[in-house]
């Protein structure tokens, strides 16, 4: 090469010459850059380059993530949490990897579309087209395997579905599934295998195919858009400029997706928490908890929706939907270069590809519409149908009886389909919001100063009253007891359905004040729906307690204050005098102590609850364990099971740990992160 410089060559030039003599690098660079672009550079040729760029981004970010990731059932979620919330820049690194993977799927579709529309798959480029299809499957394989690696609820459940579908493959299905899963069940080896696939086998294979793909691309040259009307251009810098602009645009979109929430939060004046930016991390994978929010990543949503077409066909339907149909589609695509030789073949190929993408888009749209219908549904319009649906359970005869008019009944019944869709969507959205709350709570617990126990984050979540309390309560207590803030607008409706006391705020002064209120004591929030509706306590509150000569308002307040203090949920600022007066009243045998034991007031147990330590953890655990104990309701216990007392030759309904979780949750005793100073 001629030097553009005059005079003696500089040291850099000399070094370049030295290396060129021994490696021929200038020739290689020259060959790489000075490729002719027939008809000049065009934007439509950028997709292949953006895909290479996206892959390189994944390699870079993936290697750095690898440096901090730990693939095992006890450390995968934990290490990803650490990357996301603790490591400087971890959220950005993970965010780029996560969203570039999604960008890659879109770029793949665009690249394929451009190749098919331009007829670039035809002779002599058939082999390269096939290589491209293999590359596409490898990329999708990496997306699928990568989804599991954080070992969170969504990755775990999506992978269970995907691997179960693999089990439907004829002849070798079960073996294939067991090999992929790494054993008969999901665990350490599922992660190590998926990780080896995701970061080793698949990318290594991809690089091999990519090298051949690019080599063949250079051998055949760029397939120009026909007809060529403009003069030829050069890859460097004409086409490469367009390519790099497109790469930059792709990266800008990815960064935008990560950073826009931060900008929005900043504009709204709220705090920006780096750990909450970028890729989502769900709650730790838990095979023992239902996960109704389970969905595959959006680019596989069409397949998820497609499988619904075969609902009711059983395993045959899934086999058809998940294996046969996608297999046939891949086969048609592999045959495109051959079909393309036929006169109308090319048109068929273009129509097929467009149709396929349209189908994918339509199915994705349908799936989203079903899931998010409640967001945009006209609930006003469906209000009456929804009411009738809930009342009649969709029985048309009952609807007719209720409406009276045949035409109207038919119109209402015609909306039942929409109502069902609305209900399903509402359930899904509720599951999504539960999943989000669980994820936030898990991250909050992991962030405690004492960090995650060696058994892993799932252990931490399972021992958390805030995470487990509501579930255990709903499962074991909620069929009788309500747990609803009386201030909520729908509280009355919920209380009306309950058949035992409302335990929201149990142990607090507010709860006790309600109990001692003659208007409320026989209401649904207290004894109203129980066998004690006309019991001694109701009689006392509505009778004796109303005698203003015996029970001054200050006395009642003192009793309320002392009971709240007894449960440990009282106001620490209550004057000692009030407490002393309260204790005196509660213990006095002519007041509360006439029925209730309190401390050493000597009242026999068995008549009414022991008020010593009322509402405290030990007291609550005791009553949940065995309400028929003489300390509590004794023989007058109304329906409440003895949850912690084993019946003959059977395990108790709840373990001691579960009872403790319910008690702690009712008392609001769970870990709260220290707030910033000044807050």
């Amino acid at each position: 090469m001629r030097s553009p410089f005059r005079g003696r060559p500089g040291p850099l030039r000399k070094l370049g010459d030295f290396l060129d003599d021994r490696t021929g690098w200038r020739g290689l660079v020259h060959e790489a850059l000075y490729e002719r672009v027939p008809g000049g550079a065009r934007w439509r040729y950028v997709w292949g380059s953006t895909l290479v760029f996206a892959f390189m981004t994944q390699v870079i970010t993936g290697l750095f993530l690898w440096a901090s990731y730990s693939a095992s059932a006890q450390t995968a979620w934990e290490s990803v949490w650490y990357i996301q919330h603790e490591m400087a820049g971890g959220w950005l690194l993970r965010g780029i990897h996560h969203f570039m993977a999604q960008a890659m799927v879109i770029l793949l579709a665009l690249h394929l579309l451009q190749v098919v529309i331009d007829g670039a798959y035809k002779a002599p480029r058939e082999v390269n087209f096939w290589l491209g299809l293999v590359l596409m499957m490898l990329v999708l394989g990496m997306a699928l395997t990568g989804y599991l690696l954080p070992w969170d609820q969504k990755g775990y459940w999506a992978t269970r579905v995907a691997t179960n579908l693999a089990g439907l493959v004829p002849l070798v299905g079960p073996q294939l599934q067991q090999l992929v899963v790494g054993g008969p069940d999901y665990g350490h080896h599922t992660l190590t295998r998926f990780f080896a696939l995701h970061a080793g086998f698949l990318p290594a294979t991809l690089v091999l195919f990519l090298v051949v793909h690019l080599a063949l691309f250079r051998k055949h040259g760029l397939h120009a858009k026909q007809p060529v009307t403009r003069p030829d251009g050069m890859f460097w810098p004409d086409q490469l400029l367009k390519d790099t602009v497109a790469m930059l645009a792709v990266m800008a979109v990815v960064l935008g997706v990560i950073l826009v929430p931060a900008v929005r939060a900043m504009l709204a004046g709220g705090p920006v928490v780096a750990g909450e930016l970028g890729a989502e991390l769900g709650a730790p994978a838990d095979p023992s908890q239902p996960y109704a929010a389970a969905r595959p990543e959006w680019y596989f949503l069409f397949l998820f929706q497609f499988l619904k077409v075969f609902e009711g066909w059983g395993a045959t339907g899934e086999f058809l939907g998940a294996i046969v149909v996608p297999g046939v589609i891949m086969l048609v695509m592999f045959l495109m270069p051959i079909v393309g030789r036929w006169r109308l073949g090319h048109r068929f190929n273009v129509a097929f590809t467009l149709g396929l993408l349209a189908g994918v888009a339509a199915l994705t749209g349908l799936a989203l519409d079903e899931d998010y219908y409640a967001v945009w549904a006209d609930k006003q319009r469906l209000a009456e149908a929804a009411r009738l649906y809930d009342e009649t359970g969709g029985d048309e005869a009952k609807v007719l009886a209720s409406v009276g008019d045949k035409a109207k009944a038919r119109a209402v019944a015609g909306q039942f389909h929409a109502v069902e869709k609305l209900r399903r969507s509402e359930a899904f959205l509720a599951a999504v919001s539960t999943a989000r709350a669980d994820a936030e709570r898990a991250a909050e617990l992991a962030g405690r100063p004492e960090r995650i126990p060696p058994a892993g984050a799932l252990d931490l979540v399972r021992r958390d009253p805030l995470a487990q309390g509501p579930r255990l309560f709903a499962q074991h207590c909620g069929s009788c007891h309500a747990h609803v803030d009386p201030a909520r607008p729908d509280a009355a409706a919920i209380l009306a359905k309950s058949s035992a006391a409302n335990l929201h705020g149990f142990g607090t002064a507010a709860w006790m004040r309600g109990l001692l209120d003659p208007e409320q004591v026989a209401g649904p929030a207290y004894f109203g729906n129980t066998a004690h509706r006309e019991g001694d306590m109701v009689g006392f509150v509505q009778g004796d307690l109303q005698d203003k000569d015996t029970w001054k308002q200050a006395d009642i307040e003192a009793v309320i204050a002392v009971m709240a203090a007894e449960s440990g949920l009282g106001d620490a600022a209550t004057p000692a005098q009030t407490i002393a007066r309260g204790r005196e009243l509660v213990a006095a045998t002519d007041r509360c102590g006439g029925c209730h034991r309190f401390g050493d007031n000597g009242t026999d147990l068995g008549t009414a609850c022991d008020l010593t330590g009322w509402g405290g953890r030990e007291w609550l655990v005791g009553i949940i364990r065995d309400p028929t104990h003489e300390r509590f309701y004794g023989t007058s216990n109304d329906r409440m099971p003895s949850f912690g007392k084993a019946a003959e030759s059977a395990a108790p309904l709840l373990t001691a740990e579960q009872i403790g979780l319910i008690a702690d949750w009712l008392r609001g005793a769970w870990y709260r992160p220290a707030t910033l100073a000044g807050e």
């Binding site: 810098p237 790469m247 990266m251």
Partner: protein, 187 residues
């Protein structure tokens, strides 16, 4: 190969201002696009530099009566809670020290079991007369002094040791840089 033609094209186009700008722009765009993942990666990779080890604190090791006053060192485990990235470990052995006591003395000397040469675990010879490092044969007297010739640049690292009135022995647990003549504590 189109080398001749390409060379011609390059020469005619390469000198134009437009061609130069296009090259600069292409390099800038490509560079910018690649900087983001690289920077995020390096940023996260450098995270360990922000981390500090646990502050050196006195950890209870044993009782005075468990250290015989015969001048022979004995090995004791140092037990403590420990945080390793995301995992918080409950109390477990995190290292070992050698303790020894002279005849009739109430003072206990503590030596770190880490060899000052390259950080291996120094072992006490079976007869209790000297320490020997299994890696490069650094040999130390039982009070930690160097027995020459030795690859170790300094004597064994003494640790601060306290004996409470009730006889509880605790040691200030810290690590020192190895391979240098000076005893410098790691932060």
């Amino acid at each position: 190969m189109q080398t001749t033609k390409a060379d011609g094209d390059r020469d005619s186009a390469g000198d134009t201002r437009r061609g130069f700008l296009a090259k600069v722009a292409a390099l800038a765009c490509g560079g910018l696009a690649t900087v983001a993942p690289l920077a995020a990666g390096v940023w996260a990779f450098l995270d360990p530099l922000r981390r500090k080890g646990a502050a050196a604190t006195f950890l209870p090791v044993t009782e005075l009566t468990a250290v015989p006053d015969d001048g022979v060192p004995r090995q004791f485990a140092v037990v403590s809670e420990r945080i390793d990235a995301w995992t918080g470990f409950p109390r477990e052995p995190i290292g070992a020290v050698y303790l020894r006591r002279e005849k009739g003395s109430q003072q206990v000397e503590a030596l770190s079991a880490t060899c000052p040469h390259a950080g291996c675990f120094v072992e006490l010879e079976a007869d209790g007369r000297c320490f020997r490092c299994p890696c490069h044969n650094s040999t130390f007297t039982r009070d930690g002094g160097i027995v020459q010739p030795s690859p170790s640049p300094r004597v064994m690292d003494a640790l601060e040791c306290q004996v409470s009135e009730s006889g509880a022995v605790s040691v200030k647990w810290q690590n020192f840089y190895t391979g240098i003549a000076d005893k410098v504590a790691r932060e």
